[in-house]
C-alpha cells in the first residue's frame, strides 16, 4: 500500500455513463486481480471521501486503468478529470482473488453483474494464465451498460461468455443468475468454483445457487468506505463468526476483503443497497 499521486493519461467515455480512467504513476505498483484503489482528484474540496475503484487493467506497473460508472458526486468528479490532471491515490488495497493452478478445481465460473465486471477482468486473465477452464456470465441492465462495463474486453479473451441484459437489448433477457443457475445444474457443481462481483442482491442469489449445487463461491463485496485502509471501521459486513477475533461479528471490506468466501457472509443482514 502506498499513498501517491497519479497523473491522468486518459479518461474516456466507453458508453454514456461509463468511463475508463488511465493513470500513470512514478513508481511501479504491483497489483493482483481483485485489488482496488482509493481515488480522489488532487486538492478537491468536495466530495471529501475518496472513492474505491477496482483496478481494471494494469498495462504495466506504472499505468493502471479503472472502469467506472458515473453515479453520484464522487464518480462525477472523477469523470471531469482531463489528461494531465492529478489524482490522489492509495493503492493497492484489499485481498486479491485466490486463483489456484489448474487441477485443483475443474471449472471457474465468473459471474459479473454491472460494473462489478471491473473487478474480474484481471481475474479472468489470471485464470487463463493458470490454465484453469473458465466461463464468464456477464449481466448488465442494457447493451449500453454491458459495453460500458467492458464487454468488448471480455469478448477479446475468447472465453465462453454468456450475456444477459435486463431489457433484452443484448443476449438473454433477464438476470444473469438465470443462465448461471441453469449451468450449475447442468454440470457437477461441486467441481466448480464460483467468482462473483456485482450488486449485493445478485451476489446473495449467486451465493445461494452455488451453495445449492455444492460449489465453492467467492464474492467481492462493496461497502461505503471512509478510508480504505482499515482505520474507520465504516465498511463492515456482518459475518458468520467462526473464530473469536478482534472485529467482533463484523469484518472490514477494505482490509479483510473485498473478497470473501460467500459462506462467511451473513446475507440476512442488510448489505450495500446500491
Amino acid at each position: 500500500m502506498i499513498e501517491t499521486i497519479g497523473t491522468v493519461f486518459r479518461n474516456d467515455e466507453i458508453t454514456p455513463g461509463y468511463k475508463k480512467l488511465t493513470l500513470r504513476f512514478v513508481e511501479g505498483i504491483s497489483i493482483r486481480a481483485g485489488q482496488f484503489a482509493m481515488l480522489r482528484p488532487r486538492n478537491a474540496y468536495e466530495p471529501l471521501l475518496r472513492r474505491a475503484l477496482a483496478v481494471y487493467r494494469a498495462d504495466d506497473s506504472r499505468r493502471l486503468s479503472f472502469l467506472y460508472q458515473i453515479l453520484g458526486r464522487g464518480t462525477a468528479a472523477l469523470a471531469c478529470l482531463k489528461p494531465g490532471d492529478q489524482v490522489e491515490a492509495l493503492l493497492p488495497l484489499g485481498n486479491p482473488w485466490p486463483v489456484d493452478a489448474a487441477g485443483s478445481s475443474e471449472l471457474a465460473v465468473v459471474v459479473a453483474g454491472g460494473v462489478g465486471s471491473a473487478s474480474v477482468l484481471m481475474l479472468c486473465e489470471e485464470l487463463i494464465d493458470a490454465g484453469v477452464q473458465t466461463e464468464v456470465f456477464f449481466g448488465a441492465a442494457s447493451e449500453n451498460a454491458a459495453i460500458g462495463c467492458g464487454l468488448d474486453d471480455f469478448r477479446a479473451m475468447q472465453l465462453p461468455l454468456i450475456i444477459t441484459t435486463v431489457d433484452g437489448s443484448l443476449g438473454e433477457r433477464g438476470l444473469v443468475t438465470t443462465p448461471f443457475s441453469r449451468r450449475l445444474a447442468a454440470i457437477d457443481g461441486s467441481r466448480s468454483r464460483v467468482y462473483s462481483c456485482g450488486p449485493w442482491a445478485m451476489m446473495k442469489a449467486v451465493a445461494e445457487i452455488a451453495n445449492e449445487h455444492g460449489a465453492g463461491c467467492l464474492v467481492s463485496l462493496e461497502a461505503p468506505m471512509g478510508c480504505g485502509f482499515g482505520v474507520c471501521v465504516g465498511c463492515v459486513v456482518a459475518v458468520e463468526r467462526k473464530e473469536a477475533g478482534e472485529y467482533g461479528a463484523y469484518k472490514r471490506v477494505c482490509v479483510d476483503g473485498p473478497v470473501f468466501a460467500a459462506d462467511e457472509i451473513r446475507w440476512d443482514v442488510a448489505g450495500m443497497s446500491h
Partner: protein
C-alpha cells in the same frame, strides 16, 4: 506580528506540554480516526507525530453497529460505528507491544456504558506499558444507555471525572460533547472534578434519510457529524471554554490543514487532534506539522506555545 526573514530563526520549537507530558509537536491523531496507530505505519513516519488517540477502548470487546455505519454529507460525514473495538485487554496484549516500537505519545481513549464500565477499562489500562495519558470519551453520540450521554450533563460528567481521576495512574483528558447548550459550564465542572486537560469536540449528532426507502441511511438512525463542516462550531467552542478554564485544551473538529489547526491554537488550544481528514488524506498529520513549522518560521515565532490563546491579546 512582524514577518521576519526565514534565516532569522533556525527552527521553531513545536513541542508542547499537556498535563506534564511532553509532545514533540501539537499534532495528534483523533480517536476512531487513527485506528491503533499501526495502520499508518506504512504511510507516515509515526516517529514524527505528536501522538495519537486509540480507537475508543472498552472493558470488553464490542462488535459495533450493523452497516451502514457511515454516510458522506456536504463537507463532512456521519458515522455510527458503535465503538467496535478489540477491548482494553487485547489492546494491551496485542497492540501495545507493536506500538511501543514507535516513539510517539499514546493516548488511550476510554469508553464505557456505565461508570463501572469506565472504571473497569481504566483498571485494565493502568497495567499497559507505553500509554501516556487517558482520554475519557464521555461524549460519543452513538452509544447511549437509557438515552443519556454522560457528557451532556455537567453533574454526571463531573461525577465520572472524579471517579476516573481517583483510579487513573495517568493524566486524564476528558473529551467534551458539543451537543450541549453551554459547553463552558460543563468544562468548568469537569476541570473542577479533577480533569488534567480537556479535548473538544466530539462529533455533532446528525441524521441522513434515504428518500427512496424513507429510512435513515445509518442503521443506528442518527450518527456523529465530523469533518470540515463542523470546524467553525468547534473553534467557537474551544474559544468559549478557553475563557473559563486554565487547563490545557486540545482542539478537534474538521482540521484538514495547518491553517485550520492554527485557528484552534489561536482560540486557546495547546494541541490539536485530526480525525476525518486522515481518511481522505492519510498524510494530513505530516502536512499539518510541516505547515505549522513554516507558519511559525515565517513569522519569527520561536515557540508554538506563544500562539495559544493569542486571540485574547
Amino acid at each position: 506580528m512582524p514577518i521576519q526573514d526565514e534565516a532569522d530563526i533556525l527552527d521553531t520549537n513545536l513541542s508542547v506540554e499537556i498535563a506534564g507530558v511532553g509532545f514533540r509537536n501539537p499534532v495528534i491523531g483523533a480517536s476512531g480516526c487513527f485506528g491503533y496507530g499501526l495502520e499508518f505505519s506504512e504511510l507516515i513516519d509515526l516517529n514524527r507525530l505528536g501522538g495519537f488517540c486509540t480507537k475508543g477502548l472498552s472493558a470488553r470487546p464490542l462488535a459495533g453497529h450493523p452497516p451502514a455505519r457511515i454516510v458522506e454529507t456536504h463537507g463532512g460525514m456521519l458515522n455510527a460505528i458503535g465503538l467496535q473495538n478489540v477491548g482494553a485487554r487485547a489492546f494491551i496484549e496485542e497492540k501495545l507491544p507493536l506500538i511501543r516500537r514507535y516513539d510517539t505519545r499514546v493516548i488511550a481513549n476510554v469508553f464505557g456504558y456505565s461508570e463501572e464500565d469506565y472504571m473497569e477499562t481504566i483498571r485494565i489500562l493502568n497495567d499497559g506499558e507505553g500509554i501516556s495519558l487517558y482520554e475519557l470519551n464521555i461524549s460519543c453520540p452513538n452509544v447511549k444507555e437509557g438515552g443519556i450521554v454522560i457528557g451532556n450533563s455537567a453533574a454526571a460528567a463531573a461525577r465520572l471525572t472524579e471517579s476516573a481521576r481517583r483510579l487513573s495512574e495517568r493524566p486524564l483528558i476528558v473529551k467534551l460533547s458539543p451537543n450541549v447548550t453551554n459547553i463552558a459550564e460543563i468544562a468548568k465542572a469537569i476541570v473542577a472534578a479533577g480533569a488534567d486537560a480537556l479535548s473538544l469536540i466530539n462529533t455533532i449528532v446528525g441524521m441522513a434519510i434515504d428518500v427512496n426507502t424513507f429510512k435513515p441511511r445509518l442503521s443506528y438512525g442518527t450518527g456523529g457529524l465530523s469533518g470540515p463542516a463542523i470546524h467553525p462550531i468547534a473553534v467557537r467552542m474551544v474559544y468559549e471554554v478557553a475563557q473559563v478554564v486554565s487547563a490545557p485544551l486540545i482542539g478537534i473538529g474538521g482540521i484538514a490543514s495547518a491553517m485550520d489547526a492554527l485557528e484552534f491554537i489561536i482560540a486557546g488550544a495547546t494541541a490539536v487532534q485530526i480525525g476525518t481528514a486522515n481518511y481522505y488524506d492519510p498524510l494530513v498529520t505530516m502536512k499539518v506539522i510541516d505547515g505549522l513549522s513554516d507558519y511559525c518560521k515565517k513569522r519569527g515565532i520561536s515557540r508554538i506555545g506563544e500562539l495559544t490563546g493569542a486571540t485574547f491579546n
